[in-house]
Amino acid sequence: MNLFDWSFAWHILPDLLRASLNTLTITLLGFAIAVAAGLLLAIGRRSRHLWLSWPVAGLIEFIRSTPLLIQVYFLFYVFPNYGLNLTAMQAGILGIALHYACYTAEVYRAGLDAVPRGQWEAVTALNMAPLTAYRDIILPQALRPILPALGNYLVAMLKDTPVLSAITVVEIMQQAKNIGSESFRYLEPITMVGLFFLILSLGLAWFVRRLEGRLELAPR
């Protein structure tokens, strides 16, 4: 028996690529939600009102220190009992997005803390509404330094998508396992999935590094 059957690998490539579209959809959609929700969480955590900032801080800490797998189980198996039916795909995207929203919230917090104090005082002195202040003054300054860190979480998120195969989302890992159990050949599909992730995450990392260089060169 060959070590690595190339014709078999070629044969299963289309199946894997089709499943990889699911992986990419989950990553991009989840990341979009995470970036938006993370910003809200970060601003909520900074709020002056204790009734808002404490629960948000608690939620962030709790989600950050429990495993994604259990959270996704929770969304997928507990919520239907209360009438909220999510498909595996929806539960997966929602779960991974919430999980990473809490991570990005911390990144945003670092960015917001890095905005000079004078800027916050100036905003107050000019009597700006909170919405205008955040949109026009604070966020443009806070976002630039944290873009690379956000990019890192995009890579991390991509690599966490296989976890969703546990709730029957057919992404690339699940597809590879299906192929394996049909043909009793695990070497090719799982190796190819590994390569897929390696190439994609190296590519994304390269992109993030370029972004970093670009942002440093940009005039202040």
Partner: protein, 206 residues
Amino acid sequence: MTVQVTFWGSLLAIVSAIVAALGRLSSVPALRWLAITYIEVFRGTSLLVQLFWLYFVLPMPPFNIEMSAFAVAILGLGLHIGAYGAEVMRGAIRSVAKGQYEACQALNMSPFKRFYRIVLPQALLAAIPPGTNLLIELLKNTSLVSLITLSDLAFRARQLDQATFMTLEIFALTLLLYFLLAQVINLGMRMLERRLSRGRMQGGLS
């Protein structure tokens, strides 16, 4: 089971992190490239893919290496987190002041003794805060080993759920347990940091 996997996994992770960081900083090109390949491959692919590779691919014909789920879990988690830890250790080792190396040379220490007695204790201290993050990451990732049929906390939770249908209680309790375990790691590492930094000059911006 979760605690066991976390414990042995973190031991393996720390060892492989130190070894890989040393390899990465080595002046021998072959060693350096070996370490870079290890770090990039394990950081670049998904942990679940690695676990499946170890569990499903290795027993198949070309390799014929069969391992228990427990061994695979420790090996996979340890090597995965170790690759991340290697980068942390690299930064920590590099942050040891140059004067320390020169002092060791002046005292005619052997390279091994220099690393073991002088560089490592200082580097470990610098590596503790990011290391804590990685250990918590490792704890959370142990939930993935349930997918290769090891009966850890997550696996048991699924089993109990199928047996009793008390879904909310079971999963809420599981989440809480993981949270508590993470806090234990947090606390332990903070105590370790205090212990290691004893006698170190504090204060100022140094």
